[in-house]
């Protein structure tokens, strides 16, 4: 026992005297853990919210009844169905603003809710009575109440002034949701005697014929697949977040690998001494592993706390993106399960052990006497470089195989991982070659030493430079993709949001009245119906839109590909336009036919054009509006886009609202919609941008860590040059110069690698994840920014070690020679 204890104390004492190295190791592992766990916290929060939301409004997999025509269902239809024996339960949903923030208000009728939809607290009859009896209860998640500043029993007031029943905290309710009795919801939302939907038990069979016998064609059955399970719909979004978090974790592991590896090398002498004193190899390995475990747990704990803070900071952007893109509600404050902490610490531990495995393996394999032979260690390093080259080749082969043979999103990520890893592993070899060229081209003795010495530093800096390469490539790649997306998206929005006003009426009749009123207005130049219905092709939900032929579409709605006279054929009802993701998913080409399940049968129509539909998880088809109504008589006829003089828009909207009041479900102007869409876009990629920046920061720390831990070794390498007459100041400047040259070379290599990454993201990952493909743009100015970032990172990382060198006392430099004879 004492052997292990004293060995541990001897090894750990190294960190006491190298606090900067210890700090960089801890920072590296903590930051890597923080970025990974932060992303997982966001994903975990989202999934928990999806589960709770699904449980709230019904059982998972349960059907629902929704209006076939308008937004809301008259309550008398519910009464009629209950009297006819249908075991359905009413639900009213809407948005309320409280303190300027939007919350989803859900009104339920607990007495008729299907048995599996559990709300803890209402299972007890006394609590149920409290919920139903005046003044009733407002149920919300504890963090929602905390955001609202509402204590238990407090009455929350909405911005318009409505007072909710006394608040009760319920853990099982998803964040961002507020649950009240349906009567209360109807009053607060201003929807008296109206419902959003009626839910049934998951084992209920809703017979369409029996339904029609009671309510006619007023309602339709909505299956869970039709709306799209949130977990499935958002899978790609969360997978992309996870991929980014993993990239950041791997880059962070480079710091750990560099720090632990260099610490091992610095302690080679100590390890040799310990072996000479009689410490067995088994004890030594066990102590080294214990040290790594303790450091990992300590740094991991710090990282988890930071990860929580990062996730909390990014959650608003993620929540907005998920709500905007998928309609998903994930709340505004984080609540995490204990397993998140365990899994995060586990990742830190696993990462640290992986990062230190090579060093532990080296120590285990080398005989004690060789540990003291620098030549033996160098032979091992050169062997490692050869193995690195082989691994690089393997990684690139795997990437190629995944590209040619793989399918799906995971194959896309394998391609990216293989390319990044392969090129990163080849980086030291490539840099060594470039440095040799520099040396060969130099005539000046000091210049030749500059290049040769830079090559000598490579083994100690290669990991940090590889991390820098990955971070810079990610910057170029993701930046190229995001900028390309922004360029494309902005233009696409301009095309799609061409009308000045967008109107949604309460029902078809209200829609007709609104349209007639608008057509009579002199400020209005066109009223275009945007009627739609939903269908399914296979298991995939597809929206079918009916359009009236108009210059608005012909002139502005651009198609990715089209047959001649495509718009004429749509107008004539002999052709349909399909979205890119629908075409990709169903392997539809121009001239091919698409079979659309309609109410009276299947309507088969040729595909005459394909259009871009970025961000839509569902498929979309656009046909002539008359054909839509013919094949789907019950299509929703509540949406209209209105062309009007821009200067008349505000007044027109005001008059419309005054004229029609509650008959209007929603009125938006073009500027509002564009701004909201762009805001969602920016907030979505703000998350990516934040992770990008943090990854670059992590790689900068890796470089700093390597330079700092090399600084002691560097002294022995630089002292002879100093003794020959080169000043410390000059040597210090040359040190900074070497690091900047290496960083610049790495940045130059990062640009083409980043472009490859961008192409993979655009052409493979995006297509597999979302079904649509962005045009590939390049942004040379971005490369310049990345190059400058690399130089700045290198300069900042090299400054402190160089400063220390310039201030090294001559006596310390002379000590290098003191032990030589």
């Amino acid at each position: 026992m004492s052997e292990a204890v004293w060995t541990f104390m001897a090894l750990v004492s190294h960190w006491r005297r190298h606090r900067a190295s210890f700090a960089t190791l801890m920072v590296g592992l903590a930051v890597a853990t923080a970025l990974w766990s932060g992303v997982q916290a966001l994903n975990s929060q989202a999934r928990q919210s999806y589960d709770r939301a699904a449980r709230l409004v019904g059982e998972a997999g349960a059907p629902a009844l929704v209006s076939a025509r308008g937004a809301f269902i008259p309550q008398e239809q519910y009464v009629a169905l209950r009297r006819a024996g249908f075991k359905v339960s009413p639900v009213l949903e809407g948005t309320v603003r409280i303190g300027g923030a939007a919350y989803r208000l859900v009104g339920i009728e607990p007495l008729t809710r299907p048995g599996g939809a559990v709300l803890t607290g209402l299972e007890d009859s006394s609590d149920l009575e409290a919920f139903l009896r005046a003044p009733g209860q407002t149920l919300a998640a504890p963090q929602t109440l905390s955001e609202l500043g509402a204590a238990a029993g407090a009455r929350i007031q909405t911005d318009p002034g409505a007072l909710l029943p006394p608040a009760v905290a319920q853990d099982t309710i998803a964040p961002g949701l507020i649950v009240v009795d349906i009567g209360v919801a109807q009053a607060v939302l201003g929807r008296p005697m109206q419902l959003s939907r009626m839910i049934a038990a998951s084992d209920a069979t809703l017979d369409a014929e029996a339904l029609a016998a009671v309510v006619g064609d007023a309602l339709r059955i909505e299956t869970p697949e039709e709306t799209g399970d949130l977990t499935r719909l958002t899978e790609s979004f969360h997978l992309n977040l996870t991929a980014f978090g993993l990239l950041a974790f791997i880059v962070g592991l480079f710091i750990v690998h560099a720090s632990i590896g260099l610490a091992f090398e610095q302690r080679l002498g100590t390890v040799r001494t310990l072996r000479a004193c009689g410490v067995s190899l088994a004890t030594l390995i066990a102590v080294l592993v214990s040290e790594v475990v303790m450091l990992a747990l300590l740094a991991g704990a710090i990282g988890m706390v930071c990860g929580y803070l990062i996730a909390a900071a990014l959650l608003p952007d993620v929540a907005l993106s998920l709500r905007g893109i998928y309609g998903a509600d994930v709340g505004r404050s984080l609540v995490l399960e204990p397993r998140w902490w365990v899994s995060g610490l586990g990742m830190a531990l696993l990462g640290a052990l992986i990062a230190s495995a090579a060093s532990l393996f080296k120590v285990a394999r080398m005989p004690a006497v060789a540990l003291g032979r620098p030549l033996a260690w160098r032979e091992a390093h050169e062997g490692q470089l050869r193995r690195q080259g082989v691994l690089a080749g393997l990684a690139l082969v795997v990437a190629l195989a995944a590209f040619w043979l793989g399918e799906g999103l995971v194959a896309g990520f394998v391609v990216i991982a293989g390319v990044l890893l392969g090129v990163a592993l080849l980086l030291p070899l490539g840099l060594a070659r470039l440095l040799r060229v520099g040396e060969a081209m130099s005539n000046d003795a000091l210049a030749r030493w500059f290049w040769a010495d830079a090559r000598r530093q490579l083994p100690g800096l290669s990991l940090a430079l590889m991390a820098l390469l990955l971070a810079l490539s990610a910057n170029v790649g993701v930046g190229t993709m995001v900028e390309g997306f922004r360029t494309t998206f902005t233009g696409w929005l301009d095309e799609r949001l061409n009308s000045e006003i967008y109107v949604t009426a309460q029902d078809a009749e209200a829609g007709r009245r609104v349209a007639a009123w608008l057509e009579a207005d002199t400020d209005v130049t066109a009223v275009l119906p945007v009627w739609r219905t939903e269908t399914r092709i296979g298991a995939w939900p597809v929206d079918v839109y009916g359009l009236r032929d108009h210059a608005t579409y012909r002139d502005h709605f651009s198609l990715l590909s089209e047959l001649p006279r495509a718009w004429d054929r749509v107008r004539d009802g002999t052709g349909a336009l399909v979205s890119e993701q629908l075409a990709q998913r169903m392997s539809l080409g121009l001239g091919g036919e698409i079979a659309l399940p309609a109410e009276a049968g299947v309507w088969t129509v040729p595909v005459v054009g394909v259009f871009a539909d970025y961000g839509n998880p569902k498929g979309q088809v656009r046909v002539n509006v008359d054909r839509l109504v013919r094949h789907w008589p019950d299509a929703r006829r509540t949406h209209y886009s209105v062309r009007a003089a821009p200067e008349a828009v505000a007044g027109l909207i005001e008059r419309m609202r005054a004229e029609f009041g509650d008959a209007l479900a929603q009125v938006s102007d073009q500027a509002q919609l564009k701004a909201m869409s762009l805001r969602i876009f920016e907030r979505t990629f703000a998350v990516t941008g934040a992770l990008n920046t943090l990854t670059l920061f992590v790689s900068g720390i890796a470089l700093f860590a390597s330079l700092l831990t090399l600084s002691d070794v560097r002294l022995a390498q630089i002292a002879p040059v100093w003794a020959l007459g080169v000043t410390r100041r000059r040597l210090s400047d040359l040190e900074v110069g070497k690091v900047m040259v290496l960083a610049a070379m790495t940045a130059v290599l990062a640009v083409p690698l980043g472009l490859v990454l961008a192409w993979c993201l655009v052409a493979i990952v995006n297509v597999q994840a979302f079904g649509w493909r962005l045009p590939f743009h390049v942004f040379p100015l971005q490369w310049g920014v990345v190059f400058v970032l690399a130089l700045v990172t290198a300069f900042v990382a090299a400054m402190l070690p160089a400063l220390r060198l310039s201030r090294t006392a001559p006596a310390d430099l002379l000590k290098v020679f003191a032990n030589e004879r």
Binding site: T7, A10, R275, A276, G278, A282, A368, N819
Partner: protein, 239 residues
């Protein structure tokens, strides 16, 4: 206090007082290189008794360090036998060789090989502690005799070469070894300091009663020991 006889260590053979403390028989060692195997030792025989000192002479690259490493159990021989007080060093797994080394052998290297992050005090005590033999009184005596009393809380980088080598000697003797191995202990010191270190080492060796085997290329230093042998072409010749 001098230590002449020590209690028999449990689990090991009972040492005979007339038997050699160190026995090396037919030891062979070669190393693989890209150019082929290099034979360093071709069958070395030597023995050493308690309280005896032996100088191992030879040119650079003659295999002196290799032989010392094999005797110390830092490496394993390709053939032959090495025994310390009858306990075999050869043919044992690393753990057993390490146990034998920390209990019975002290090693002093040319490069001092102190633990840079431990103080003088902790460096000297290290091997004794891991062997479970730390004796504060003996530690204090060693430090006093080595002239390190004012330097106990210093770190190796704050010491001169001679001071560091004295710490190394202290560490090797703090465990009260049966055999002290020294590989060119004055190789990195000037002549005066080297002589001073040798005086201390020989004095302490005499006090502890251990056997002393020193590799050196200095015939002058070798003359101070009881016997001398020379290693040449992988074999021992009488010096």
């Amino acid at each position: 206090m001098t230590l002449i006889d020590r209690p028999h260590e449990p689990g090991g053979p009972t040492p005979r007082h007339d038997a050699p403390l160190l026995s090396v028989r037919g030891v062979r060692k070669s190393y693989a290189t890209p150019q082929g195997a290099v034979v360093v030792l071709k069958g070395v025989d030597l023995s050493l008794r308690a309280r005896e000192s032996l100088a191992l002479l030879g040119e650079s690259g003659s295999g002196k360090s290799t032989l010392l490493h094999l005797i110390g159990g830092l490496d394993d021989a390709d053939g032959g036998e090495i025994a310390i007080e009858g306990a075999a060093m050869t043919g044992r797994p690393d753990g057993e060789r390490a146990a034998l080394r920390r209990a019975r052998i002290g090693i002093v290297f040319q490069q001092f090989n102190l633990v840079p992050s431990l103080t003088v005090d902790d460096n000297i005590a290290f091997q004794a502690r891991i062997a479970g033999r730390f004796d504060p009184a003996w530690q204090d005596e060693l430090i006093g005799r080595l002239g390190l009393g004012d330097l106990r809380s210093r770190y190796p980088e704050q010491l001169s070469g001679g001071q560091q080598q004295r710490v190394a000697i202290g560490r090797a003797l703090a465990v009260r070894p049966r055999l002290l191995l020294a590989d060119e202990p004055t190789g990195n010191l000037d002549e005066a300091t080297g002589d001073e270190v040798m005086d201390l080492a020989l004095d302490l060796v005499a006090r502890t009663g251990c056997a002393f085997l020193m590799a050196t290329h200095s015939t002058r230093l070798a003359a101070r020991l009881d016997r001398r042998v020379r290693l040449a072409s992988g074999a021992l010749v009488a010096s």
